[in-house]
């Protein structure tokens, strides 16, 4: 310590002339260097900032001293402290005549400010002036600052000068001008688009540095629209060739490589230009081959070029010879000891297998090594590779691995990513629904709050719909296994809320479906959940709604729960409690029709024409009611239309409205309010769906008063619309319109939460019928309806969209059902002994969430040595009779259960083995991407079944091949 201090002093003294910095500054740096804690450092800096503030405000500070003060300011800001008081001094310093001071000013400004800062306006002027300077160093400094500070609005101010500088005699200036233009292009492409030809011109610059710099903007432009630059392919190839042949000055060499950074940039550009273009790619093969030949795998930079070459080759039109060279280099990377190269090798492999999946085969070992590596980065990269090569045959292994890894990481960002990848793979390739549900359980359990809510809806949908129309038995077994697994999980203390929602929903819907568990048991469980998660409103609502929706006979504890919740602070919860109480007061028939069993996915038929009301309408007309006029023909009632559109806007998006408010008009509300007062009984018309008649009541009760209110306001100010603006959709304002729409909103919310909750749809349809009545009865009602449902159609649309979206999101499921229906009969013909694939897992122990072998992957590794293959074989009863064909153990979790389920007899030997294999592949193919794939896999399975590959099982073929 002492020594350090003396040295520091020594340095300070020695450098008085050398660095041009004062002792003060050196002391500052030194004391910070010596600071033992962050707090101490903060104290020092705070003191320093105080000091600087005083000094900077002093008008008599010499300019040279000023420079140093500024640097100290930069230093303080670099350490994370706020030095904004000095920013203006930095701006001032850019005005200075002396170059070092000016440069320091620009440096400080570029570090302090960015383009959005207010002070930039002051700098723009200086930059403009400096760009015209005779001293090229000043111009350089100004251009550097311009790259950092000129935002979109300021571009026109400096653009002409920058363009002029493209022809500057000094190459350093030309280069910077190109970079500045590039930056402007990135900021605002439209303002520079007419100057694009300049970049082409600069490509032929005499100075290689300028040419190299020009590649940056060109790369951007080409990424944007490759087709308009196809003519440059030949020039790029020529340049690359010249660079590779060492035609550039040796000063561009880097570790004996000729201009490697330019080469890499060129390769990037060629990769874009050659992508999917056979002709353009044709020009490139020769030079790429040259680079590969000359490739230097001993130095880092050589490897960087080779890697870029591989990227280029995997992007352009494939050429077998090039691919071979690329594969060879990749294998060199993978075999290297350096982690960096392994990493690049894994990445390169990921690119190459897109073109030729067979390449991965020979690197199986290296890939497994990387997966096991303690280096996290390498591991993640390998998971990325595995993700790219997942197929229906290896999905189980890979996803299991991913989940295992996912459980142990804390990095939220990556956890989200890997969870969504697991879900994606599981949705795409799941060999069986059973497996899918178990996988999803695991994902939700460990990363539930990070997974997109859509995934949860998809899962519920899958459970509800099952996976084919024809095998109801399999579906119900699937459900009961889901119920079983959820019942086991539900007691666990910490479950993510989205997962709990799924559990509650499934238990509520299907808990009693197979008669295994009694309703009270399920309800008890659900009540436990509701009580355990008192803070979590959504979960509570879910558990609660479903628990009660299921059974009509109330349990005492349930009753207490409902009572408790009807006094809840959450309005939503309270409302639901009341709704349910009202519902339970109805007769049994009504409850059943409102909450049908297992109908969550059946479409609710909404009679859009409301034909059942015809007789009623007729009657009303006969009684003298005004006939219904469609809104479009109602020219006289502008206020209704505008009111409605206003409402719509309000409901659909809470955005700024740019059009002015209309003048308040005395609407015909007042005139008709009287009429509407007399018509409330009209609401009590019987509606086919008896559900939510309590709500109808509520509305009909509140209507007259609400109308009166709005009528009153209609004369002076239309406050009802305004009021709505303040009241959030969940809290009702005084008008009936908003209260109703608030219910609408919460219903919509619950719907999107629950995915399949039927009640809201029922409710909606009842609203629909109400609307019809309303519109026909009076203009006032029309208006009310308009305000009520102004948002409703939009909402319904959105809902429809959402449902369509979910349908789209599960294309794999649908596709799977489509493809599974075709190959299945054939398979069943061939192997009558094999059970339907889905039943394989559902035999004796449908709850077995983990396959018999704890870690299939480690088994795979074990299988590498031929001797160790036996334990796996003995583990599976079906295979023990014959030599283990490799495919067998991949499906080892399917086969044994299938065998023990009794449908396949293990003693049948080869034939049976084959059949079970087929069953297994059937399972695998069922979710597979295409029919063709499935057939192919079937063929390979057969082949393997007939000719076992002896004691050298190439398991990795399944994983990697």
């Amino acid at each position: 310590m002492e020594q350090l201090r003396t040295i520091g002093r020594e340095l300070a003294m020695g450098s008085q002339g050398g660095w041009g910095q004062s002792k003060e500054f050196l002391d500052l740096v030194k004391s910070i260097g010596e600071a033992r804690s962050k707090a101490e450092e903060d104290r020092i800096i705070a003191r320093e900032l105080e000091h600087l503030k005083r000094r900077l405000a002093d008008p008599d500070v010499p300019r040279r001293k000023m420079k140093e003060l500024l640097l100290r300011l930069v230093y303080a800001e670099m350490l994370g402290h706020d030095a904004s008081f000095g920013h203006i001094h930095a701006v001032k310093m850019t005005h200075d005549e002396s170059l070092p001071l000016k440069r320091t000013g620009y440096l400080a400004v570029a570090l302090f400010l960015d383009e959005r800062h207010d002070l930039v306006i002051l700098v723009v002027n200086t930059i403009q002036k400096d760009l015209r300077s005779d001293n090229y160093l000043v111009v350089c400094a100004a251009l550097s600052a311009a790259c950092r500070l000129i935002g979109e609005e300021a571009i026109p101010a400096v653009l002409p000068q920058v363009v002029e500088l493209l022809a500057h005699p000094k190459e350093a200036v030309r280069k910077k001008a190109v970079m500045a233009l590039h930056r402007f292009y990135q900021r605002s492409p439209s303002s520079v688009s007419h100057l694009v030809s300049n970049f082409r011109k600069r490509l032929c610059d005499n100075d290689p540095g300028v040419m190299g710099a020009t590649l940056c903007p060109l790369y951007d432009l080409i990424l944007e629209e490759p087709n308009s630059y196809k003519d440059l392919v030949v020039s790029f190839v020529n340049i690359l060739k010249q660079v590779a042949e060492r035609r550039l000055p040796t000063s561009y060499d880097y570790h004996q490589m000729p201009a490697p950074f330019i080469q890499i940039k060129l390769l990037k550009i060629l990769a874009v230009l050659g992508s999917g273009d056979k002709q353009a790619s044709g020009h490139m093969y020769t030079v790429l081959g040259d680079i590969f030949r000359k490739g230097d795998t001993a130095s880092n930079i050589g490897n960087a070029i080779l890697y870029e070459c591989i990227c280029c080759i995997s992007s352009i039109f494939p050429n077998p010879k090039m691919l071979e060279a690329a594969a060879e280099t990749t294998s060199k990377f993978l075999k290297s000891d350096s982690h960096n190269l392994k990493y690049m090798g894994i990445d390169a492999l990921g690119r190459l297998i897109k073109i030729n999946p067979d390449i991965a085969e020979e690197h199986q070992l290296a890939v497994i090594d990387c997966l096991e590596d303690p280096d996290d980065t390498l591991k993640r990269k390998t998971f990325e590779l595995l993700y790219k090569m997942t197929k229906s045959t290896n999905v189980e292994v890979i996803v299991d691995r991913m989940i295992e890894y996912m459980i142990n990481i804390t990095d939220h960002h990556y956890k989200t990513e890997i969870a969504s990848r697991c879900v994606e793979l599981a949705e795409q390739f799941a060999p069986s629904n059973q497996w899918f549900i178990q996988t999803m359980n695991k994902v939700f359990e460990h990363a539930g709050d990070l997974v997109n809510i859509r995934v949860a809806h998809n899962l519920m949908r899958l459970i509800a719909e099952g996976f084919g129309e024809e095998d109801e038995g399999a579906d119900s077994q699937l459900r009961s296994s889901a119920v079983d697994s959820y019942l086991r999980i539900v007691g666990e203390p910490k479950l993510p809320s989205s997962f709990l929602q799924i559990i509650c929903w499934v238990l509520g819907e299907y808990g009693t479906a197979d008669g295994k568990y009694s309703a009270p048991y399920i309800i008890g469980k659900l009540c436990d959940v509701a009580e355990a998660h008192l803070t979590d409103d959504t979960v509570k609502i879910f558990a609660f709604e479903i628990a009660l929706g299921r059974k009509i006979d109330m349990l005492p504890e349930c009753q207490t729960l409902v009572d408790e919740l009807s006094a809840s602070h959450s309005t939503d919860l309270q409302q639901r409690a009341y709704e349910l109480q009202a519902l339970l007061g109805l007769d049994k028939h009504a409850v059943e029709s409102v909450m049908p069993t297992d109908a969550s996915c059946e479409d609710i038929e909404v009679d859009r024409n409301l034909s059942f009301l015809n007789s009623y309408v007729q009657q009303a007309l006969e009684n003298g009611a005004a006939p219904y006029i469609p809104e479009s023909e109602r020219s006289g009632v502008i206020s209704v239309g505008s009111y409605r559109s206003q409402e719509q806007q309000e409901a659909s998006a809470h955005t700024l409205r740019f059009e002015a408010y209309e003048m308040p008009k005395p609407s015909l509300a007042l005139a008709t309010s009287q009429a509407s007062m007399s018509t409330p009984p009209a609401d009590l018309v019987p509606i086919p769906e008896p559900g939510y008649y309590k709500e109808d009541h509520q509305i009909s009760r509140s209507q007259p008063s609400g109308d009166a209110v709005s009528g009153e306001f209609g004369v002076k100010l239309r406050l009802d619309g305004v009021q709505k603006k303040w009241g959030k959709p969940t809290y009702s304002s005084s008008t009936p319109s908003s209260s109703a729409s608030s219910q609408q909103a919460t219903n919509g919310g619950s719907h999107s939460d629950g995915g399949g909750s039927t009640s809201s749809q029922v409710r909606e349809s009842s609203y629909g019928s109400k609307r019809q009545q309303g519109t026909e009865i009076s203009a006032e009602k029309q208006r009310l309806a308009a305000s009520l449902f102004g948002s409703a159609p939009a909402k319904a649309d959105r809902k429809a969209q959402a449902s369509r979206k979910t349908a789209k999101e599960s294309p794999s499921t649908e596709k799977a059902t489509a493809s599974s229906s075709a190959p299945q009969p054939v398979k069943e013909q061939v192997t009558p002994a094999a059970p339907p694939p889905d039943l394989l897992d559902l035999g004796d122990e449908p709850v077995s969430s983990s396959p018999p072998s704890a870690d299939p992957f480690s088994q795979l590794e074990g299988l590498l040595g031929p001797a160790s293959s036996t334990p796996v074989v003995s583990g599976t009863p079906a295979t023990s009779s014959s030599k283990a064909p490799d495919l067998m153990s991949i499906f080892s979790d399917d086969v044994p259960t299938g065998a023990t389920s009794g449908s396949t007899d293990p003693t049948l030997g080869d034939v049976n083995l084959m059949s079970s294999l087929k069953g297994a592949t059937g399972v695998a193919a069922k979710k597979g991407p295409s029919l063709q794939d499935a057939l192919q896999k079937d063929a390979t399975a057969r082949q393997v079944g007939v000719t076992p590959t002896g004691n050298n099982p190439n398991l990795f073929k399944d994983l990697l091949g």
Binding site: I7, R183, G209, I264, L378
Partner: protein
């Protein structure tokens, strides 16, 4: 895929980039986690900067010596290299060429070494502004725009008259000082031999 995923996570959401620059920021951190130099090519507000520095230094400093020089961070990739007691870090997009970035770091260090003459951490601490100037001559707006060492050095030296040049001879004579022993230059020649 990777390109789309980082585009969503641009730190300042009110600015949209066509394609973000190659390098988002450069950090120099000492082994004790002290910041020696920061340069931001993507705009980060001051508050976020401290957070980023903290996260990255804890990520990078905790890594073992034999592991690879790349780390995933918030959907970006941080390429780092240790020279003596200093870590040079650059943040890039995951789709970029990591090895190339590693060489850009090395390129920068080599130029620093030539300029300061056997550069050590102390040089950078006391002359951080010069380190900034040199960086500006190599990287503009996050893109490498000059790979010619001589051209960079020529430009940097012409901007400073002789008086401003560092007294490297003095530095070299301080053999007894432990900071001086941690010469970055020593590492450079190791790397070349590698």
């Amino acid at each position: 895929l990777s390109v789309s995923c980082w585009k969503k996570r641009i730190p300042c959401s009110n600015i949209t980039f066509l394609r973000c620059c190659q390098i988002h920021f450069v950090l120099l951190i000492s082994r004790q986690g002290k910041v020696r130099l920061t340069k931001w090519y993507t705009p980060y507000p001051q508050k976020q900067r401290s957070k980023v520095i903290k996260e990255i230094s804890s990520l990078v400093l905790s890594r073992g010596p034999k592991l690879c020089n790349f780390v995933d961070w918030q959907g970006y990739r941080v390429v780092y290299k240790r020279y003596a007691s200093l870590y040079f870090c650059m943040c890039i997009d995951p789709a970029d060429n990591e090895l190339e970035t590693l060489q850009i770091i090395h390129h920068y260090v080599e130029i620093l070494d030539r300029y300061f003459g056997n550069v050590c951490e102390l040089d950078l601490i006391f002359n951080f502004h010069k380190a900034y100037f040199i960086l500006d001559e190599i990287l503009i707006a996050g893109e490498l725009h000059e790979s010619n060492k001589k051209a960079v050095l020529r430009l940097v030296t012409t901007q400073y008259n002789e008086k401003d040049k560092p007294a490297c001879t003095f530095m070299c004579s301080c053999e007894m000082h432990y900071w001086v022993a941690l010469r970055i230059g020593v590492m450079i020649y190791h790397d070349v031999v590698e």
